[in-house]
């Protein structure tokens, strides 16, 4: 199958520091790719480049949505990239704390809806319908992640694990083709991690491509179709979980001298 996202030679320099060094990446629809590596390896910087928060110093980002012409995402502002079909969550949760859980998800619908100031004030039929759809779809997403009960709660009041799930729901509301999850299991208890596992699997089964930064190796090994290992901004290895488990460079750089697993 043709890749959904092709990243060629992506490079990001901050002054004299090269945070991401000529990284290549391919993602197919319905595929889970994990991005692992020690802290400071450049994983989040790579995410920021993909989603437009940083403007990459070099390289190409090409998105090829199935059945639509492919397009180059280089240098697009974040909101255009989200509209093109890339949605993300953040390593340090970035919800809108003083909006309700439901409103957080509704904000995600922004780029798929169109009503403007005129619509807001006069509420023509089209706006009313759009608003109803926004509420309906957002509630359905909350249902899916198991937060429908708390829809009218302030987002800030949710427990940590629920906040992480809410971030995923908010990203899903943008109807992405590719979902970028930055350490979604961080700080979750085993029960929550298991639920997250099931959620990510079901999203994959829906045909979403998922790029995952994660430190929970059990989760990574279980979920990923493909693993990319980064260190010092460079891609040092890639392959299936089995291959990565045995890769000497990975063991040296990331898993320590002893082999991971047991």
């Amino acid at each position: 199958m043709q890749p959904l996202l092709t990243v060629n030679d992506l490079t990001m320099d901050f002054g004299g520091i090269r945070a991401v060094d000529r990284v290549d990446l391919r993602l197919r629809p319905g595929e889970i790719v994990a991005l692992i590596g020690p802290n400071g390896a450049g994983k989040t910087t790579l995410f920021n480049c993909l989603t437009g928060l940083h403007r990459p110093t070099g390289g190409d980002l090409v998105l090829a949505p199935p059945g639509r012409p492919q397009r180059n995402l280089n240098g697009l502002p974040p909101h255009r990239i989200t509209a093109a079909g890339l949605a993300r969550t953040f390593q340090n949760i970035r919800l809108f704390p003083h909006m309700t859980v439901l409103e957080n998800v509704m904000v995600g619908r922004h780029c798929r809806t169109t009503s403007k100031v005129f619509g807001a004030i006069f509420r023509p039929e089209a706006t009313v319908r759009e608003e109803r759809e926004t509420v309906g779809m957002s509630l359905a997403l909350l249902e899916r992640i198991g937060l429908a009960e708390q829809a009218d709660e302030w987002a800030a009041n949710l427990p940590y694990g629920a906040q992480r799930r809410l971030e995923i729901a908010r990203a899903l509301a943008t109807e992405p083709l590719l979902l970028l999850l930055d350490e979604p299991a961080a700080g979750m208890n085993p029960q929550e991690t298991q639920e997250l596992d099931a959620l990510i699997t079901s999203l994959r089964d829906d045909g979403l491509a998922i790029l995952l930064i994660e430190h929970d190796m059990k989760l990574v090994m279980r979920l990923s179709d493909h693993i990319v290992v980064m260190d010092y901004g460079r891609k040092i290895a890639e392959g299936t979980p089995e291959e990565i488990r045995r890769h000497p460079a990975v063991i040296r750089a990331y898993l320590g001298e002893e082999e991971y697993g047991a």
């Binding site: 989603t51 437009g52 928060l53 502002p77 974040p78 909101h79 989200t82 509209a83 949605a87 993300r88 953040f90 970035r94 919800l95 809108f96 704390p97 003083h98 909006m99 309700t100 439901l102 409103e103 509704m106 904000v107 995600g108 619908r109 922004h110 780029c111 798929r112 809806t113 009503s115 403007k116 100031v117 619509g119 807001a120 004030i121 509420r123 706006t127 759009e130 608003e131 926004t134 509420v135 509630l139 429908a148 009960e149 829809a151 009218d152 302030w154 800030a156 009041n157 908010r170 509301a173 943008t174």
Partner: protein, 410 residues
């Protein structure tokens, strides 16, 4: 006189030391103002040492009280963490939120405003009209500061744009109020965008400083570009708002303006409320809460910021047209930074993003000084003190924003 600390048994030694220190600090600060009184004509100096003791004692007492309140709150912090909702929506509000209480309350308020001119003198009506204009201004600024979280210290500039739009159009072309109102609103929006563009990349303090500068630029241009604006002498004999060319006595005209301003305020409340509960409103809130996540959710930050500036400015400009028509005379002195500060006070005091709060705060802040003429000199002092107190006791404002529910489960 000894400072108050000894009265209570609860405070620790540290509290008392801090309070005494605060007392001394205030004694030192106010020494030149409150203690020394120079009589230039008799060439003598009076030393009012009693004042110093008063200042020291009172400020120490207040400082101690504040520390005790803070300690009390810290102790109650655990409980609040379990129910953090209270920090956002005050429980007192819940009382008024049931329809059976809300409807009669609204009806009573509506009736009061409707019959106001019949019950009170022209003087009172005039004051109320002014207060209602500040309701419009406060709600307009609420879009920018309360909804979108963009601190704008030069809001009065747009007020001036509106007032001068009407003033100049009337002076040069003899245009009436009703023609000038939409033109003023549009020009306000235009100026809002003009200010918005250069400050797109700025946030927080930097944004505040640039908007402050913008406000001053507009005022200084009006003051110094005499050929355009007639400078400090201003524009006089601006027509009052008309009604199908009917001749009105001054008193009737004032009452008419009162109802006009009521209509304007109601329209503002209606529009601002609809904007808040819309796709645009949610985008503003998202921008305020976290601008990076906001962009990542596909919101065009540039467009949404400019929309906020433009819409906020529109209301200021329309209020400006109303102001010019009401006073029939405008000059740059009406549009100083102090006006911006007062409007901002209204928003902060009422509760950022809260419509009811801003309306209440505008009425309170504008009406109270009028009816407390006796202490009018201390108006600014009280303003400041009330704001500081609010920030400590209820930082979310007089009537905090209510959470909007969609599911009906609450």
């Amino acid at each position: 006189m000894t400072p108050a600390p000894e009265k209570t048994a609860m405070p620790t030694g540290k509290d008392i030391r801090q309070a005494l220190l605060t007392g001394f600090w205030f004694m030192f600060l106010t020494f030149p103002l409150l203690v020394i009184k120079v009589h230039p004509i008799e060439q003598t100096v009076t030393w009012r040492w009693a004042n110093m003791l008063w200042v020291g004692g009172l400020s120490a007492a207040v400082a101690l009280a504040c520390r005790l309140v803070a300690a009390h709150r810290a102790a109650g912090g655990e409980r609040r963490r379990q129910e953090p909702d209270r920090a956002i929506a005050a429980p007192s509000q819940a009382f008024f939120l049931t329809p059976s209480r809300l409807v009669p309350l609204l009806a009573a308020v509506g009736l009061f405003f409707l019959v106001f001119p019949l019950l009170f003198s022209t003087y009172q009506v005039n004051i109320m009209t002014t207060a209602l204009m500040y309701v419009v201004l406060g709600l307009g600024l609420n879009i920018v500061v309360g909804f979108a979280g963009l601190l704008d210290l030069g809001y009065v500039a747009f007020y001036a744009v509106g007032a001068y739009t009407y003033g100049l159009l009337h002076l040069h072309f003899g245009l009436g109020f009703w023609t000038a109102l939409p033109i003023g609103g549009l020009l306000g929006a235009l100026f809002g965008v003009l200010l918005g563009f250069p400050v797109l990349r700025l946030r927080g303090d930097y944004l505040a400083i640039v908007t402050l500068g913008f406000g001053e630029i507009i005022r200084l241009v009006l003051e110094n570009w005499g050929d355009f604006s007639q400078g400090p002498s201003g524009i006089a004999n601006i027509a009052r708002p008309g009604l199908f060319g009917i001749e009105m006595s001054l008193e009737t005209s004032l009452v008419y303006q009162y109802y006009l301003t009521i209509a304007m305020a109601l329209l503002t409340i209606f529009v601002v409320n609809r904007l808040r509960n819309s796709r645009i409103g949610r985008a503003w809130f998202a921008l305020r809460e976290d601008d990076i996540a906001c962009q990542a959710m596909g919101i065009n930050k540039t467009a949404i910021k400019l929309t906020a500036f433009a819409l906020g400015a529109t209301w200021a400009a329309m209020a400006g047209v109303l102001f010019a028509a009401k006073t029939t005379f405008i000059n740059p002195a009406s549009f100083t930074f102090l006006e911006s500060a007062i409007i901002l006070c209204i928003v902060v005091l009422g509760g950022m993003g809260s419509i009811v709060g801003v309306v209440a705060a505008a009425l309170i802040l504008m009406l109270l000084p009028e009816y407390l003429r006796a202490v009018a000199e201390y108006r600014m002092l009280v303003f400041g003190a009330v704001l500081v107190l609010m920030m400590i006791v209820q930082p979310q404002g007089l009537i905090p924003r209510v959470r909007r529910t969609y599911t009906g489960s609450h």
